[in-house]
């Protein structure tokens, strides 16, 4: 689908490129572009982070990105170009982990599609994050189960005060 660009970018070869994302989603029909960029930040849950390693199951990740794009297109019901790229490998502080960019005729569509897409990338794509801390320790992040049966069990259980429906922060 030429209006949807998806990529897994090996950080050893190149960085993610916001300008390429903007170029891809630009179009004479479009007045609004929204772009989300996720970067490695220095704190998480109170620990000092020095870097993050991303592990991806690439073929399914790319298929998931495509499916997310098609879902966003149906959801907003307007012409749209969408760009999703996720990094793979060992990232340092400040490096870009993910870019989602959307071009649409009007801004509301761009914001909605961009938000929908980044939420879906975070909750549905087969990607795993290992944080490295300043003390030399490392940990795989608590994540979001892709297992239908488990998701249902989580939905049925109460989660205290957390807003996120499946009981973890991300």
């Amino acid at each position: 689908m030429s209006d949807i660009y998806t990529a897994v970018v090996d950080i050893r070869e190149t960085q993610l490129d916001p300008v390429a994302a903007l170029d891809f989603v630009s179009d004479p029909r479009f007045g609004g572009i929204d772009m989300f960029i996720g970067k490695v930040r220095e704190h998480n849950l109170g620990r000092l982070v020095t870097g993050i390693s991303y592990d991806l199951f690439e073929p399914l990740a790319l298929r998931t990105f495509e499916a997310i794009g098609e879902r966003a297109r149906r959801e907003i019901g307007a012409p749209m170009k969408l760009y999703i790229a996720h990094a793979k490998g060992d990232l340092s502080l400040g490096e870009i982990a993910v870019i989602v960019a959307v071009g649409t005729p009007h801004r509301d569509e761009a914001f909605r599609a961009c938000r929908l897409a980044i939420e879906a990338v975070k909750h549905e794509a087969p990607i795993w994050k290992q944080e490295h801390y300043v003390d030399g320790d490392s940990a795989w992040s608590e994540g979001c189960s892709l297992c239908e049966e488990h998701r249902e069990a989580e939905r049925a259980a109460p989660h205290g005060t957390k807003a996120h429906a499946h009981g973890h922060e991300h």
Binding site: P126, W128, W140, E142
Partner: protein, 86 residues
């Protein structure tokens, strides 16, 4: 039949090869495979929690395979622990 299960994220610690091979019955379901894998890990990788396997999904290159599904004919699978992209 023999299946090869690719490992990702926290489950990579289960085997340094990056995959686990298991002998499983023909027409095995994903639910049955999950039990077999749990038994295998209890013996060969006791540091991996059974809860993590329970919360993980199985997938082919193309899609998530839920518990009622049978194994892909080529025996190639991936096990996906809870995801944390972005």
């Amino acid at each position: 039949m023999k299946v090869r299960i690719r490992l990702f994220g926290a489950l990579r610690d289960a085997d340094a090869n990056g995959y686990i091979e298991l002998q499983v019955p023909e027409h095995c379901t994903i639910a049955e495979l999950r039990e077999l894998l749990r038994d295998h890990l209890r013996t060969h990788a006791p540091h991996i929690s059974a809860g993590l396997v329970q919360r993980s999904a199985f997938a082919s290159d193309d899609e998530i395979l839920h518990n009622h599904r049978t194994l892909p004919e080529n025996g190639q699978l991936a096990i996906l622990p809870p995801v944390s992209g972005g």
